[in-house]
């Protein structure tokens, strides 16, 4: 199958390794990977801030570039939710409504694509470390992902998964929220980091780089040796 990869703007600029890992994993499974290079962003920042006209301007350029795709795979629950849940709302009662719905139907978050669509859990990965998993809120509650990432981690050689008490608690990122209300966002992140630290894990793994960016930002500032890594990178280590 040809898998069209949607690379979120921050993954492209800040965390390319997560994207590269996804390409290598999907190709390793025998699929062809397509990447529409002229997509910059899904439009979530203006959408979540309430500026839906501006979000529509961005998203309207995304839609035609994904129109002929067989399956669209995104390594982020947040941008995944934007395409899957919010595009149909954004384009309701517009000429692109049908296309938005079709694209929504074809969109998959990366871990869910592997597990639910391809039926793959064992990728032969090896990561001999103690890890804890952070459920990104959009992936967890908009897309209902809880089991897929854990099914994949369960098959990684040498990996020990220790759940943290606050696994399902928001890390405090929330896009523009993090800079509009930095004091609240930071407090939320502190709660998250403390809970992850309690597990004595070496890594926090997540299927969302945006959460990890926030968590890592706090950990680095606090000189906490705990590290963050995207699920795709873990699955691509042999």
């Amino acid at each position: 199958m040809t898998v069209t990869l949607f690379i979120p703007c921050f993954v492209d600029a800040l965390f390319p390794r997560a994207g590269i890992s996804m390409v290598q994993i999907l190709e390793g499974l025998g699929h062809k990977v397509a990447f529409p290079e002229s997509i910059s962003c899904c439009g979530q920042p203006p959408f979540n801030s309430g500026y839906w006209d501006e979000a529509r301007t961005v998203a309207a350029k995304v839609l035609p570039q994904l129109a002929n795709s067989e399956a669209i795979v995104i390594g982020s629950g947040s941008c995944g939710a934007m395409l899957k849940v919010f595009y149909p709302q954004l384009f309701e009662n517009t000429p692109q409504a049908t296309l938005a719905k079709q694209i929504s139907d074809r969109t998959w978050e990366f871990s869910d694509f592997l597990v639910s669509k391809l039926g793959v859990t064992d990728l032969g990965a090896k990561f001999p470390h103690k890890v804890t998993f952070h459920d990104g809120c959009h992936g967890l509650r908009e897309l209902g992902l809880k089991k897929s990432p854990r099914a994949l981690l369960g098959k990684v050689n040498g990996l020990e998964l220790v759940e943290m008490g606050e696994a399902e608690t928001c890390c405090g990122f929330g896009g523009t929220f993090a800079t509009k209300f930095p004091m609240i966002s930071t407090a939320m992140g502190e709660v998250k980091c403390a809970s992850a630290t309690e597990t004595k894990a070496e890594y926090i793994v997540s299927n969302d780089s945006s959460c990890l960016m926030h968590i890592q930002g706090l950990l680095s500032r606090q000189a906490n040796p705990l590290k963050t890594i995207h699920l795709a990178e873990v699955l691509n280590l042999k």
Partner: protein
């Protein structure tokens, strides 16, 4: 100071208050344990939520019929029904009754509607002695504070703080035993019940079919408030209606489960009218004040109408990471937490209160927990959209226009990334200082380094 600056200033203080964070976390950890035990005792919790949502949907979408039925039944048993369009009217109605009765003192049981219309201030201003009989409410009343939480008004206080308050205000001896503290309050309150001219209550549910109100409580104070004074006034939001008596079989355990983690609260009482001929107790007169106060405007909003399903259980506050970190008072609203952030813009003005909808990471924990399935976090998003549409911020609108312009021009976007890579080392020099353009982030968090080779670069190079 505007509402938003006030909120931000208070949030800054509270979010960094580790003592507060610990008190709330400890209190809520106990709640979470008992709540989950009770949820598990439902045969099908998700099915129960669906049924509750559908029942409330029916109630709210036929509110006119249910209210007519409810009031007709009430009146048939001699209850006086009053309609209040807004807070001022509701206060006037209550003040007129109080005046007609030549009342001097009022005892109250817990009612958020009373907080909503600032009834205590109005009564005290009119020269009345007003006493809250719910323990938590009494504590915050003595502290001259608003309730911290819909269900747990004084959850932000430790037992020692309550003991100090009682020593100072009630002249009691020092103790941090919860039972003794309760007894101190009870002793102070008993006299008040006997001397009060008027008892004021709220209602948890208003049963249309039978014309009864249901009050659910743990201290028995609402019963005494309703039973002892000669005149009883109940101040009820119009959305409290349930169509049928049998609906209580679901809603009472559901409210207890999510509110306090109980199977049922200790006292559940139905009130159907004032003392009837031949009866030996109960109030001589019962006035029911039905409060609209912008609820019909919410009803007219098809997208957010389900916010009227709310049974005020407080469950969304308890799971909200914003509430847990900034606390109830920071909101400066009657209803705090997610439900407060959703409805306050409808009750008190979108532009003044839109910041509460922005002060959320849209994590959705509230929606996931809500027993009547209010789509809370999506309503926060809709409030943001409505606010931006009605009165866009020039700075935000312009920056998102520029953002969209760049996002749709790949060459420009990629040039921006290159520029950012050049300027990031310079930003590093001023990191976290007032001149840092990214200071909102960098004051507490490190920024990630831009990758020397972006994903797009890598993709192009491998081809």
């Amino acid at each position: 100071m505007s509402f938003v600056s006030q909120f931000k200033a208070q949030a800054r203080v509270m979010a960094g208050d580790l003592r507060h964070r610990k008190i709330i976390r400890t209190a809520l950890r106990n709640y979470e344990i008992v709540r989950d035990v009770r949820k598990a005792s439902f045969q099908d919790w998700q099915g129960a939520r669906q049924l509750a949502a559908e029942t409330k949907w029916q109630a709210v979408n036929h509110l006119d019929q249910h209210l007519e039925q409810f009031t007709a039944k009430l009146e048939s048993r001699g209850t006086k029904v009053h309609w209040a369009s807004n807070a001022a009217q509701a206060r006037e109605i209550v003040l007129k009754i109080v005046k007609d009765k030549k009342a001097k003192s009022v005892i109250k049981s817990k009612a958020m509607t009373s907080e909503e219309i600032h009834l205590n201030d109005a009564l005290e201003h009119a020269g009345l002695n007003v006493v809250e009989s719910d323990l938590g409410e009494l504590i915050v009343q003595l502290r001259k504070e608003a309730p911290y939480h819909i269900v747990f008004p004084s959850m932000h206080l430790t037992r020692d703080e309550i003991s100090e308050l009682f020593q100072r205000e009630l002249g009691s001896a020092a103790t941090n035993d919860p039972e003794e503290l309760t007894m101190i309050a009870r002793r102070a309150l008993r006299k008040k019940y006997l001397t009060a001219d008027i008892g004021i209550t709220g209602a948890n549910f208003a049963i249309a079919e039978t014309g009864m109100i249901s009050i659910t409580e743990n201290e028995g104070n609402a019963r005494l408030t309703a039973a002892l004074p000669k005149t009883m006034i109940s101040l009820i939001g119009i959305e409290k209606v349930l169509p049928r008596m049998e609906d209580l079989a679901l809603f009472l355990p559901m409210l207890a489960t999510m509110g306090t983690g109980q199977q049922l609260t200790c006292y559940n009482t139905l009130y159907s009218g004032p003392r009837q001929p031949g009866e030996t107790d109960g109030p001589e007169e019962w006035h029911v004040v039905l409060l609209d106060n912008h609820r019909t405007e919410l009803l007219a909003d098809a997208e957010q109408r389900d916010a009227l399903h709310c049974i005020r259980c407080g469950a969304c506050l308890n799971v909200c990471p914003i509430f847990r970190n900034v606390g109830g008072h920071t909101y400066a609203t009657t209803y705090s937490g997610p439900i407060g952030s959703v409805i306050t813009p409808h009750l008190r003005g979108l532009q003044d209160w839109k910041h509460l909808s922005s002060a959320s990471s849209l994590c959705g924990a509230c929606t996931e927990t809500c027993p009547v399935k209010i789509d809370l976090h999506h309503h926060l998003l809709q409030n943001r959209r409505n606010a931006a549409k009605q009165q866009p911020s020039f700075a935000e609108k312009t920056s998102f226009k520029l953002f969209a312009f760049a996002a749709n021009r790949p060459a420009l976007w990629n040039f921006g990334k290159k520029m950012a890579r050049i300027f990031q080392p310079l930003q590093g020099l001023v990191k976290g200082t007032p001149v840092d353009p990214a200071k909102a982030w960098t004051q507490t968090r490190d920024l990630p380094q831009l990758a020397p080779e972006s994903f797009k670069d890598w993709w192009r190079n491998r081809k």
